[in-house]
Amino acid sequence: MSAHSHVDGQLPHEPEKATLEGRNKVLGFWLFLGGETVLFGTLFSAFLALRHQVLGGPPAEELFNLGLVAAATLILLTSSLTSVFAVHALHTHQVKSLIMWLIITVVLGAGFLGLEIYEFVHYVHEGHGFTTSAFSSSFYTLVGFHGAHVAFGILWISLLIIQLAKKGLNTTTAPKVYIASMYWHFIDVVWVFIFTVVYLMGKVG
């Protein structure tokens, strides 16, 4: 049950599940993501119920610039791929490459976030403020919750990168990296739904 049952250098293939603490973390995080699914499900429902209430503000089909959003989507999906490579490096115990892939993931995430902030600023100039209409409030809440998740993920993974650099890969750091990558995938999946439900459906009307 101890966190140190394996000496460094003899890590098992899946170091994240080598200890009970690790297994608990992974299972607990799966469950947490189940709760997050309900959270985003409720946000989506609210958005769907309110998305036609634009009042005086610009409607979705005029507002959205699909090119920009598609670029953001591409960046975020790529970051999911790089986090897969990171977990692969975790399983083959290559700390250097693990850190490198995590850094790339964080950079891509920051790129996504930058585009999103730019997008929001642009919308506000178009007259689509947070308080404009029920559409705008629910839009910013849904997409903003996702953006906040990305921001949190960036900080979290950055912190893990520092820990990996200092402490190396062991049965304490491995589960942390593993669940952070689960989190990152989850955010990506949510974004795919946002892209479809908010932007594509918004363009169709």
Binding site: L43, A46, T141
Partner: protein, 632 residues
Amino acid sequence: MAHAHAHTHAVKRHSGLMDWLTTVDHKKIGILYLLAGGFFFLVGGLEALLIRIQLWKPMNDFVSADTFNELLTMHGTTMIFLAAMPILFALMNAIVPLQIGARDVAFPFLNSLGFWTFLFGGILLNVSWFTGGAPDAGWTAYAPLAGTTYNGDHGVDYYVLGLQVAGIGTLIGGINFLVTIINMRAPGMTFMRMPMFTWTIFITSALILFAFPALTVGLAALMFDRLFDANFFDPSGGGNAVLWEHIFWIFGHPEVYILILPAFGVISEVISTFSRKRLFGYSSMVFATILIGFLGFMVWAHHMFTTGLGPVANALFSIATMLIAVPTGIKIFNWLFTMWGGSIIFNTANLFAVGFVPTFVMGGVTGVMLAAAPADFQYHDSYFVVAHFHYVIVGGLILGIFSGLHYWWPKMFGRALNETIGKLTFWTFFIGFHLTFFIQHFLGLLGMPRRIWTYLDGLGFNEMNLISTIGAFLMALGTILFLLNIVTTAFKPKNAPADPWEDGRTLEWTIPSPAPEYNFAQTPLVRGYDAYWKEKMDGHKGMTPAEPLGPIHMPSPSILPFFMGVGLFIAALGFMYAPDWGDMFDGFKAGYGVGIFGLLILFGCMFLRSVIDDHGFHIEEEEILKDKGGKA
């Protein structure tokens, strides 16, 4: 367990207040939940008494209409979120790890975090009494009443933020117990050998996981509406007030099953123990629990029959709601058949359990009556509904909690409660309860609306309201007797044996009362359902250990969860008062500064938790043997 350990660590143990602030021991956290939940139960009870005093005669003006609305709102909110749920958390913390043969919960640190966020959320909610007015839009906070148009002061802000903070704690607790039950069972403790109480906590935790995030979103949206002028529920901004009702009840109906399932678990344990019989139909009990949990998510609109969803929706939700009566009925019959032919001992714990059965049936029957949508148009928003939910919540859940507390008190504190006072508690509370609420069915049928401040003379309500108020005072007397019992018991010697009822069937009765820090000196090997009873029947004195005696690894205590609660508390106050406090510097509100400061405390603690590895400490063999020498 891991011998020959790479690191050795000094035993980190605090004492006194510091021990309670930093503890990550599930048994102590259980006691903290009991203290805090018990305190809020008294506060909510006091509010109830004031409500009943106001209503004891027509045209009374004991409290003003505004105060009445505050009392009513705070009574409901406090009882559900700050009293009932935390006391359930107390029981599950104190007992579930013991019942599955575990040394601890899966996430001891998060366990303590859950407690502190709940406590600070609860305190936040109640601070409102002293800062210009408590929330007064009902515990359901329907829009647009809860919006800024009709509630311009900060009352509902406290509701939104207090529940949000407390809700985090609940969600954490749910995940913690799911993982604990899935991953930490002793060898041989298969799912179908788990005690019924553990099963109900398992399903309740799953309901928490899938229901509370909906509340999180609802509260966040209402907060945005109130603090940042969003338009979710405000029709003039394109919002939709009915959306709040949907979100609230998608959470709210599962919530009522979150509350009642653990009570079902307690009743199953107590009735089986004191009938000295195996629980009748164990597997059908498990199945019924799962089914109730599942159906609980499909019936929310029965709270909205009169909202105007249309006949098709009403019919479907009617049928779905009535379906729940089937698994519930299964449980009732299983309890009856468990008692059938048993040698029943009517001590306090069992009196509460046996009293629960017919009382809860009455609540279920009115539930099915309410589930008939056309009839509900008559009952809705009348005292009939008030009677219904008090029969299921007080007559169900609270009787269950009293039963569980009397039953497990020796295990939690090492002293058994006094039986004479206990029985007095039962009879006063039980009679008081029926006196208060039975009559309310008829008040409702006569047309008395719920949530009214006062009523006119000559409507035929007078006598019934008076009886109801007298009943409420009898319940209060029962509660005082219970407190008296706790106090007198605390002065008795701490001498409860491991198996004080002598008929214990489950693992918690195999270890000393109260349980040592590490619960089990040696993890037990479970050989069947009712693990301890099976050993007794096979002529064994105790459990067969599944491991040799050795040092036991324990998690370190931590003060961080406490400060995370403090951080959230400060942040909530800051954001709430930002409109009033003026600017810190040009264009930046002081309130936001305070809010960000609170969040920084929170994130700072999270940062520390992430970077500082917790190696825990070991309890050595000698200490365990010393404990064993004393008792067990």
